[in-house]
Symmetry: C2
Subunit: 210 residues, 2 copies
Amino acid sequence: MHAYVHIVDDDDSFRTALERRLKLAGYRVLTYASARQLLDRLPGDEEAGCILLDVRIPGMSGPELQGRLNELQSTLPIVFLTGYADTATTVQAIKAGAEDFLTKPIASDQLIEAIERAVARHELARSQRARFDSLRALLARLTPRERQVFDLIVCGRINKQVAYELGTTERTIKAHRHQVMEKMQVQSLAELVSIAERLGTRQPGGAVRG
Amino acid sequence: MHAYVHIVDDDDSFRTALERRLKLAGYRVLTYASARQLLDRLPGDEEAGCILLDVRIPGMSGPELQGRLNELQSTLPIVFLTGYADTATTVQAIKAGAEDFLTKPIASDQLIEAIERAVARHELARSQRARFDSLRALLARLTPRERQVFDLIVCGRINKQVAYELGTTERTIKAHRHQVMEKMQVQSLAELVSIAERLGTRQPGGAVRG
DNA sequence: TTTCATATTGTACCTTGGGACAGGCGGCCG
DNA sequence: CGGCCGCCTGTCCCAAGGTACAATATGAAA
């Protein structure tokens, strides 16, 4: 386990001490004195890891950074680590998806436990994200027309209905449908529907009245 | 809005005061002096509502009750309301799905806000649950054989393959398949797959090697 | 201007799905 | 025991999906 731990804290000595502790525990550690710094050298998703984040840091606060990272679709789990914790902030942080909320001083084993949970969650999130993204990539390769056909067939329309709704012929739809199956790398309608369902691109769509 | 608020607190006077406040705010209120009492007269899902729960109550604690209710598949959101809140308990409660975690004394408007959020969430959860349950009910009406056919066709098998895997003929599968579509009240394979996906009864299942 | 991707359409043929109609076998319950 | 249900099976036929082979048109890119 060579997971990255990103420490964001304005207290130099605390940061250094924590860095040393975690390196001894086998982690790769990167430190940041402010939220800004972390955003500037934003860690990607290439490696499993997590963020250890102080609540009160100069400039952008911990929860603010959390919000920003959420906006940026970051999957990096956050473990808050702070001196004083008021209930509202704690609740807000956890609701916003933080993996944990710990108070200083913190026992090493308890911290490591939290980090391990966070890293495990990150690994899970990454793999889910990877699957999701690869499906989205496939979908993105469809031409606009193919995408229209895709949407209709995963809603259960038969070729004839699709042809009617798109103002073309059944033969043409067969061609597009073939392309769709090809590009989405599926052999059956069932798989196609399953993908659509998982990507959330499937609105049941009323039955046709023709 | 005639939502039910279930107050669980061992402090008689607090319970009564809170009950009065909430009734004035238009809620229907039920009070319980212990976790046991609430479990005994367990509120169903018929009406929207939420639970106001103290952390430290005699017998089963707030978080313990929360765990028990989660086991029981309760959808009733919990708003913790307690005098003293340590961080670990707060984090644990929110992670376990509590809607909020407030400390006494609490301003009415803030409490009402939390209750409103909880009730809204309950309404959402109830409607989702209802849809889910109705699908499960349909699925439960399938005979064992039909269920096997269902599982295979939503994985993309064609009749011939299903027949082979179940050691019977294509004709028989057609009959079962017809029954499945009938009982599940769907007109297309797409809808059937969608249901399977939402019910999580669909394991991709490897391609057939025949 | 040539080339490429996209969108379109056609014919012919085969496979798969699905309905209509009809029947057989075995277990469970009143 | 008779009837109901689950399960199985058959034939005929049509509709829908899928493929091979082929071709046209248009706009954008090289």
